[in-house]
C-alpha cells in the first residue's frame, strides 16, 4: 500500500500533509501532481481546506458503484450539521473548484434542504438577491406558477 504523502497548501499558507489517495479525491489534483509533492491551492482558504480534507479522509475508500453505506450517510449528516450557512456556501464553491464530487452533492443537498420551505423574503436574504422585478411582473410570475405557490403564505 502506497504511503505517498502530498502536501496541500491553502491560499493563506496553511499546509496539510495527506496520503496520496486522499489528495486524489480532489479531482483537480491528478493534473497537478507531477514530481512535486507539494501543491498550492490558491483559491481555497485553510479553514475550508481542512473541512474538505476531513471529508475526503472519511470517503477515501468509497467505491462509486456501491450503494452508499448507511453508516457513512449518518456520518455525512452529522458532518453537515456542524457547519454554519456561510461556511456551507464557501465549502460548496471550494468543493466545486477542487472537483470533490461527493462533497459537492452533499453540500448542495444540505443547502437545498435548508432553503426548501423558506419564504421569498428569507430566500432573498440567504442568497443576497436584489429583487429587480416590478410588482406587476412579480405578480404575473406568481400567477403563471400558481400551482407551485399554492401553499405559500
Amino acid at each position: 500500500m502506497s504511503s505517498n504523502k502530498i502536501v496541500l497548501t491553502s491560499s493563506d499558507d496553511e499546509s496539510f500533509e495527506v496520503d496520496e489517495a486522499v489528495a486524489r479525491k480532489l479531482e483537480i489534483i491528478p493534473d497537478m501532481i507531477a514530481d512535486d509533492k507539494a501543491i498550492l491551492l490558491q483559491n481555497v482558504t485553510g479553514m475550508i481546506l481542512a473541512i474538505i480534507i476531513e471529508y475526503c479522509k472519511k470517503h477515501v475508500d468509497d467505491v462509486d458503484s456501491e450503494a452508499k453505506n448507511e453508516l457513512v450517510m449518518t456520518w455525512d449528516a452529522e458532518f453537515m450539521k456542524n457547519i454554519d450557512m456561510e461556511t456551507l456556501f464557501k465549502l460548496l464553491i471550494a468543493a466545486d473548484y477542487l472537483k470533490v464530487k461527493g462533497l459537492i452533492d452533499l453540500t448542495s443537498n444540505t443547502i437545498a434542504d435548508y432553503v426548501k420551505d423558506k419564504s421569498p423574503k428569507e430566500f432573498r436574504e440567504i442568497f443576497n438577491i436584489e429583487n429587480d422585478y416590478t410588482p406587476e411582473e412579480e405578480e404575473e410570475l406568481r400567477k403563471q406558477n400558481e400551482w407551485a405557490f399554492k401553499d405559500l403564505n
Binding site: 453537515m80 456561510e86 432573498r124 429587480d132
Partner: protein, 455 residues
C-alpha cells in the same frame, strides 16, 4: 444513492437549530450573490420542482435558472398537479435531463404519464424514478428500449400493475434496477436481464410472481436484494457471480440457491407462525453463506437459530470476519448468537444494533413460547424478554460475547437510544474496563438512521 425501500425526494440531512439565527456577514453575502449559475443550479436540482419553480419570482437572474437545472421531481404533489406538470415540462429548457422523479400518488389521472416518460426519454434521462403508489398504470412498451437510462426505480404499490414487456428489452446503459411490489413474471425478468448487459445492482422487493431467478448469464451483476412477504412462494435463486446479497426470505420452504461468490450477506426471514422446517431452512441459508466475510443476521433469523440450537440442530462453521446482529437483546436470540460466535473462529468485528430496522417482522414472543413448550424445551430465564431493556442485560450480553469469542478486535454497540439516560452513562463507564480486560476496542454509538431510498 442508496437503494432500499420506497423512494423519497432526497436523503435526509436535517437542519441544525443553530442555523435559524445565522446572520450572514456582508462579505459572505457578496460572495453568495456572485455565485455562478452552475452552483445555484446544483442547489436547485436538489429541490422538488415545485419549490425550484418558486425561485423564478425572486429576480430576473433567477427567472429561468430552475428550467436549466438537470433534474425534475414531482413528489406527492397535489391531485390537480397533472395540468401544471404539463405546463412545466413545456417550459423546461435544458437539453439534458439527468434525473426525473415522479411519485404519482393522489394524482387524479395517470393519462399523461406516457407523455411524461416520453419527455424524460427525449432529454436522455439517466436516472428515472416512477412511484405509481396505488395508481393503475401499465408501463408503456417504448420505455423498454432505451440507451440513456442508468438507474431505474419502479414502485408499483398495487398488485394489478403488471410489468411484462411484449418486446425484447434493451437497456444498454442500465446499471441499477429496482422493482417494488411488481407483478413481474419469470419470463419477463429473463427478458430484462438479457437486455441489460452492464447491470450491476438488482433489487426485487415483494415481487410475488417470481419463482426462478437465474443470474448466471449476468456476470457483471454483483449486488442483489430480494425481499418477500411472509406468505410468498420462494424464488429459486441461481446467482453464482454475485458478491453482495440482501435477502429477506418468506416462511415457505425455499429451494436451494447457488451463491458461490458471495462475500457480503444480510439475511432475515419473514415468518409469523413457527414450524420445524424453518430451522433447517435457516441453517441451510447459513451454510450458503459460510464463506461470507461480512455477515448480517436479522432478529427473526437469530430467533429461529436459537430454536435450532435448543433442539440440537447442527450449525456450519463460518468464515465471517465481521458480524452484525440486527436484533434487540433477549432470551429469544441468545442461544443462536452464542452458537454463531462459537462457530466463527475468524471473527474480528462484532456490531450489535438493537434498533436497526424500522420494518422488521417480529415473530411474536408467545408463538415462540408455545412452540418451545410443545417440544418440551425451556429458555434460560436469566435473560429477559425483548421489550424489557435494562443496563444489566446489555452489560451481561457484552460479557457473554467477550467470554465466547477470543478473536475479536472491535465491538460496536449501537445501543444509545436503546438504553437511555443514566443507564447509558453507566454502561459507558463500564466500557473501558471491559475493553482493557479483554483487549478489545469497544465503541458505543447511536443507531443508524435508516435513510430510505433516493431514486
Amino acid at each position: 444513492m442508496a437503494d432500499e425501500g420506497r423512494a423519497t425526494a432526497m436523503a435526509a440531512t436535517g437542519s441544525p437549530s443553530n442555523r435559524h439565527s445565522d446572520i450572514i456577514a456582508k462579505e459572505a453575502g457578496d460572495l453568495i450573490s456572485r455565485l455562478h449559475d452552475d452552483i445555484l443550479q446544483l442547489i436547485l436540482s436538489y429541490l422538488p420542482t415545485r419549490f425550484a419553480i418558486r425561485t423564478s419570482a425572486l429576480s430576473r437572474r433567477w427567472r429561468h435558472l430552475w428550467s436549466d437545472t438537470w433534474s425534475l421531481s414531482f413528489y406527492r404533489d397535489r391531485p390537480d398537479a397533472a395540468a401544471s406538470i404539463n405546463r412545466i415540462l413545456d417550459r423546461y429548457r435544458a437539453p439534458k435531463l439527468m434525473s426525473f422523479r415522479i411519485c404519482s400518488s393522489r394524482l387524479d389521472k395517470l393519462a399523461d404519464m406516457d407523455s411524461w416518460i416520453n419527455f424524460a426519454m427525449s432529454r436522455n434521462v439517466e436516472n428515472l424514478s416512477l412511484d405509481l403508489d396505488w395508481g393503475k398504470y401499465d408501463i408503456p412498451d417504448f420505455l423498454f428500449i432505451n440507451s440513456s437510462i442508468k438507474q431505474l426505480y419502479l414502485i408499483f404499490g398495487c398488485y394489478t400493475n403488471d410489468m411484462n414487456p411484449k418486446c425484447s428489452v434493451s437497456w444498454i446503459s442500465l446499471k441499477t434496477l429496482s422493482l417494488y411490489d411488481c407483478n413481474i413474471s419469470d419470463e419477463s425478468i429473463a427478458n430484462i436481464l438479457s437486455g441489460c448487459p452492464i447491470l450491476e445492482s438488482l433489487s426485487l422487493l415483494f415481487c410475488n410472481k417470481l419463482r426462478v431467478l437465474d443470474l448466471s448469464k449476468s456476470p457483471r451483476l454483483l449486488t442483489l436484494e430480494i425481499k418477500r412477504y411472509c406468505d410468498m412462494e420462494p424464488t429459486q435463486l441461481v446467482a453464482p457471480h454475485i458478491r453482495c446479497l440482501r435477502l429477506r426470505n418468506s416462511g415457505k420452504p425455499c429451494a436451494l440457491f447457488d451463491v458461490s461468490s458471495l462475500s457480503q450477506a444480510e439475511l432475515d426471514i419473514a415468518v409469523y407462525k413457527i414450524v420445524d422446517f424453518h430451522q433447517t431452512m435457516v441453517v441451510k441459508m447459513l451454510e450458503k453463506c459460510q464463506n461470507v466475510e461480512k455477515l448480517t443476521l436479522g432478529a427473526n433469523i437469530l430467533k429461529i437459530l436459537s430454536l435450532a440450537e435448543l433442539r440440537g440442530v447442527s450449525f456450519p462453521k463460518l468464515k465471517a470476519k465481521a458480524l452484525t446482529l440486527d436484533t434487540m437483546i433477549s432470551r429469544y436470540v441468545i442461544p443462536g448468537i452464542v452458537r454463531v460466535l462459537q462457530n466463527s473462529p475468524d471473527l474480528k468485528k462484532l456490531t450489535i444494533q438493537p434498533m436497526g430496522s424500522a420494518f422488521t417482522y417480529h415473530i411474536p414472543e408467545k408463538h415462540i413460547d408455545i412452540y418451545l413448550d410443545s417440544h418440551g424445551l425451556n429458555w434460560d430465564q436469566s435473560w429477559s424478554s425483548e421489550f424489557n431493556v435494562e443496563l444489566k442485560q446489555v452489560a451481561s450480553f457484552m460479557q457473554l460475547v467477550l467470554k465466547t469469542t477470543k478473536t475479536l478486535e472491535l465491538i460496536v454497540a449501537r445501543v444509545k437510544g436503546y438504553i437511555k439516560g443514566r443507564c447509558f452513562v453507566e454502561l459507558r463507564q463500564m466500557v473501558p474496563m471491559l475493553s482493557r480486560n479483554n483487549n478489545v476496542s469497544i465503541v458505543l454509538s447511536s443507531r443508524k438512521k435508516r435513510c430510505r431510498a433516493t431514486g
